[in-house]
Symmetry: C3
Subunit: 209 residues, 3 copies
C-alpha cells in the first residue's frame, strides 16, 4: 500500500506537475518568439528552449546524456504543444499576464526542486547540485533571451527571481543531507520559492543595481 502510494505520488503527481512546469515555461518562451515576429518554427524552438533548456544544461553539466529535454517524448511534446498554443492563442495568453506570472513562479520553484534533486541523485556534490538546480530554474529563460537577442532579464531586471531559486536549492540540499526530503518537505520548498517570488513582486522588493 505504501509502495503503491509512493508510486502514485512519484509517477502521477510529480510527472504531471513537472510537465505543467515545462508547459508554463514554454508558454513564456513562445510568447517571446511571437513578440519578435519569429516564424512558426522559431516559436516552437523558443518554447522548447525555454521549457526544457534549463534541464538540458543541467543534464549536460552532470553528464546525464542524452538530456531528457531531447530524449523524452512527454517533455518534448509538452513544450511543443505550448508553442502551438501560444502561436495561435497569444492574444488570449497576453491578457492572462497575471496568471502567467503566478504559474511561472510555480514552475521556477518546481524546476529548482527537481533540478537540485536530480543533481544529488546522480552523485553531484552539494555545491554542484545547488548550481544545476538554479540553472534548471533560470537557464531556460536565459537561453530564450539570448535567442531573441536581448540581455537576459534575470540578470538585469532587479526582481527577486534567482534569489528564491538559490534559497530553494540550498534548502533542498539541506533537507536531503538530513534525510528529510519527502513529499511534505518538497511541498514546503515549492511554497518557499514561489512565495518569495510572488510576495517580492507584490511588495516591490528589488535587488540593488
Amino acid at each position: 500500500m505504501t509502495a503503491f502510494l509512493d508510486w502514485l505520488a512519484e509517477l502521477h503527481v510529480d510527472t504531471a506537475l513537472e510537465l505543467a512546469g515545462v508547459f508554463f515555461a514554454a508558454l513564456s518562451g513562445g510568447l517571446a518568439g511571437v513578440r519578435k515576429s519569429f516564424d512558426a518554427f522559431g516559436v516552437l524552438v523558443l518554447a522548447w528552449a525555454t521549457g526544457l533548456g534549463g534541464g538540458v544544461i543541467r543534464d549536460v553539466l552532470i553528464g546525464a546524456t542524452p538530456p531528457v529535454g531531447i530524449a523524452n517524448w512527454r517533455f518534448v511534446s509538452t513544450a511543443l504543444v505550448a508553442g502551438i498554443v501560444i502561436f495561435f492563442l497569444h492574444p488570449s495568453v497576453e491578457r492572462m499576464r497575471r496568471t502567467v506570472i503566478v504559474l511561472d513562479a510555480w514552475a521556477l520553484a518546481f524546476f529548482v526542486l527537481l533540478g537540485t534533486t536530480k543533481g544529488l541523485a546522480l552523485g553531484a556534490g552539494p555545491l554542484a547540485a545547488i548550481m544545476v538546480g538554479v540553472l534548471t530554474g533560470i537557464g531556460g529563460g536565459i537561453l530564450r533571451d539570448i535567442l531573441v537577442d536581448e540581455v537576459p532579464l534575470v540578470l538585469a531586471d532587479r526582481q527577486l527571481y534567482a534569489i528564491p531559486a538559490f534559497l530553494g536549492a540550498i534548502v533542498t540540499v539541506l533537507l536531503w543531507w538530513q534525510g528529510w526530503l519527502a513529499l511534505w518537505s518538497q511541498a514546503l520548498v515549492v511554497l518557499l520559492v514561489s512565495g518569495i517570488r510572488l510576495v517580492s513582486l507584490r511588495r516591490g522588493w528589488v535587488l540593488p543595481a
Copy 2:
C-alpha cells in the same frame, strides 16, 4: 570485393562529402564574420563554429566527448581553410551567392543524415536521434548568428530550412528502424532534404509568422 566497395563508399565518399559539407557551412560562417568586420581570428572562429558547431552540440548532447569538431584534424582544418578562403576571397564568394545557397542546402541535408545516424549508432533513442540530427544541421547557423549578435535567421526568416531537416531526420530514423539504411536510401534522404529546401526557395513557400 564487396567489403572493399563498402570501405571505399564509407571512407572516401562519405568522408569527402561530409568534409565538403563542413567546408560550405564554414564559408557561410566566415562570410558573416567578414560582413561584421571581424578580424582574421574572428573570421576563423565563425567559420569553425558554423561548420562544426552543430556537430559539437550533437556530440556533447549524446556524450561523445571530445567532439569531432575539436578533436579531428581533417574536420578542424577543413573549417579553417574555408575561413581563410573567405577572408581573402569574400568578394568572389559573395558573387556566387546562388551557388552558395545550393551548396548550403546540400550541406544541411548531409549534416542531418549523418547527425541522426551518429545519434542512433551511439544508442540515443529515436526522438533524441531526430533532435540531434536537426541540431547538427541547424546548430552551426544558430551559433553563427549568436556570435555576430543577431537573431538566429533559422528562427525568424520564415524559410523552409528546419522543416526539411526534421523530415530528413524522421525518415532516417524510420529507415534505420526498418533496417533499410543503405547507400541508396541515404542518397534519397539527401535528395529529399535539399530538394524541399531548394524547391521551397524557388516557389517562395514560407512558414506562417
Copy 3:
C-alpha cells in the same frame, strides 16, 4: 623533501595562481555587468561566467562532469568574491585599468596552460587539447559578451589575444609530448603568452580585418 616541495609547488603555488586567474577574469566580467546596469545577481553571474565559463566549456567538451566551475567551492567562491568586490568598488577598479589589463594577460596565460594540460591529462588528443586550452582562455570572455548582448570582443577587436593563446597551447602540447612539462617550462609558457599579449598591446600590433 622533494615530495614536500612538489606538494608545495603543486598545491599552494598552482592553486593560488589559478584562483588568482579566476579572480581577475571574474573582475572583468563583473565590470561588464556593472556597465550594463545589471542588478547585483546579474553582476555575480557575469563574474562567475567570465571567471569560470571557459573551464566549464572545457570540462563539458572533454567529459569531465560536473565541471569544477560548478562543483569546486574555492573556484565558485573566488569568482563570487570578485563579483562582490566589483559591485561595490567598480570605480576604483575602473581607475586601475592598466593594472587590470596586465593581470588579465597573466590570467589568460595561466588558463591556456592549465586548460591544455587538463585536456592532455584526461586523454584528449593533441588537437583537442589545444582547442580546449584556447577555449579555457577565451571562452569566459565570449560568454560574458554574449550575456551582455554584445559581439565577442576577442573576435572583432583585432588585438593579439587569441593568437598568443594558441601559441601557448601548442607549446604546452609540444612540451608534454617531449616529456618536458615541468615547473620551469610552464613558467616559460606563461611568460610567452602574457608577454606577446602585452608587447603587442604596447607596440600596437593588430590583426588584419
